[in-house]
Symmetry: C2
Subunit: 231 residues, 2 copies
Amino acid sequence: MDEKFSFALRKIALLGGINNYIAISSRELGDALEMSQQSASKRILELLDEKYLVRDLGARRQRIKITEKGVEELKKEYNEYRRIFELTDRVTLRGKIVTGMGQGGYYITQKPYMDQFQGKLEFRPYEGTLNVKVAKEDRGKLEVIRSMPGHVMDGFEKDGRTFGKVTAYKARIHNIDCAIVVPERSHYDDVLELVCKYHLRRTLSINDGDDVDVVVDLSPLSPEDKISCVS
Amino acid sequence: MDEKFSFALRKIALLGGINNYIAISSRELGDALEMSQQSASKRILELLDEKYLVRDLGARRQRIKITEKGVEELKKEYNEYRRIFELTDRVTLRGKIVTGMGQGGYYITQKPYMDQFQGKLEFRPYEGTLNVKVAKEDRGKLEVIRSMPGHVMDGFEKDGRTFGKVTAYKARIHNIDCAIVVPERSHYDDVLELVCKYHLRRTLSINDGDDVDVVVDLSPLSPEDKISCVS
DNA sequence: ATTACTAGTAGACGAGTAA
DNA sequence: TTTACTCGTCTACTAGTAA
């Protein structure tokens, strides 16, 4: 996002424009942004054009609200600051073991993905994933992880079905090397999918409801690795 | 801070320029900022001029590092995002009761302050403050609070000594109304000073080392109140 | 290679003003 | 009152190039 948009959008967010329409004249916004009424009016038009804002142009006062797209952009910036001030190159996520819907496990254990894992993560996963429901207080970290570069597994076609790109991040659970996998079109929920060389439930003797810490490695990838973010 | 500075500084921080000198050419920085080598070079000169950066201009490659002032500016922006995404109008700080150095208590219980409290917070504090050492994980919230508008008590002179402005924020401890007070030139530590109508230690039967939750009210002040931030 | 000057240009801004 | 047009100015950019 252009920095001039980010600046204006942030101020609008601080004025409460994320969840509600706020009544604000272009003069008032101009004052907040330290610019003229004319420029603030233009900025609003540009933000509307970029679909970062929606407007209800009433007779007397306009009312504006930040769109979902606008909120996403602000979150990206927020996550950059979190990377600067909160995170080192290791992030610990606390969660509980759960039984997945089977869906993700089937998806990720397709042979073409598995072959790529072997090349990029130096292990061939055991066929099956371990699902960890991330604790509420750590869910913000998930977004940060998704915005970081990871190991990208290319998508493919099989039986007429499309399997999209998947990003893997090296991790450790109870000191065992593993990886968390994030499909490109992630359903954006709070359940991690872990793959590992071993059958994790058996190896670690863990069951549904057990608390686990997953340490995700976000240190910079070697330059020859393809770099990509999920979001 | 000018938005163009904030944008560049943030990228430099993401490249690791907060704790270390990083070797980066103006071309590389230009690529990161999506601008020309010439503009990036100029931007670096401007940031140096504003004392947001320091530089070690070696023979081959320059090495730059963000100054304390630069980090402060970035933190301000980070705190804006925290206000957008984390905080509602109530912030809970967890901490432990400690015995203050007496210094703050003497300072804040001066009569001219007390008189202003009565007008602005609708209670006259008991003469003495309760000190709460904020838990490590909540210290970031302190900065956010200090950046929010509060009830400003004007400073005064007495016996040749200057007493500066003090900002008060309404709060509650164990469901009792109180306020936290922040001197203008705060020693910026992690100890809250609470004032209350009652003698809090006696009323709540609490002692040094006890854990307490302090709920700070950050909801917008009524317009007739003077508005000011500590930082 | 670098960094950073000068010069020319495009775009952002505010004043004036219409609707 | 509003919002937002046109237009002149001035800033911020890049290209070329020196050191």
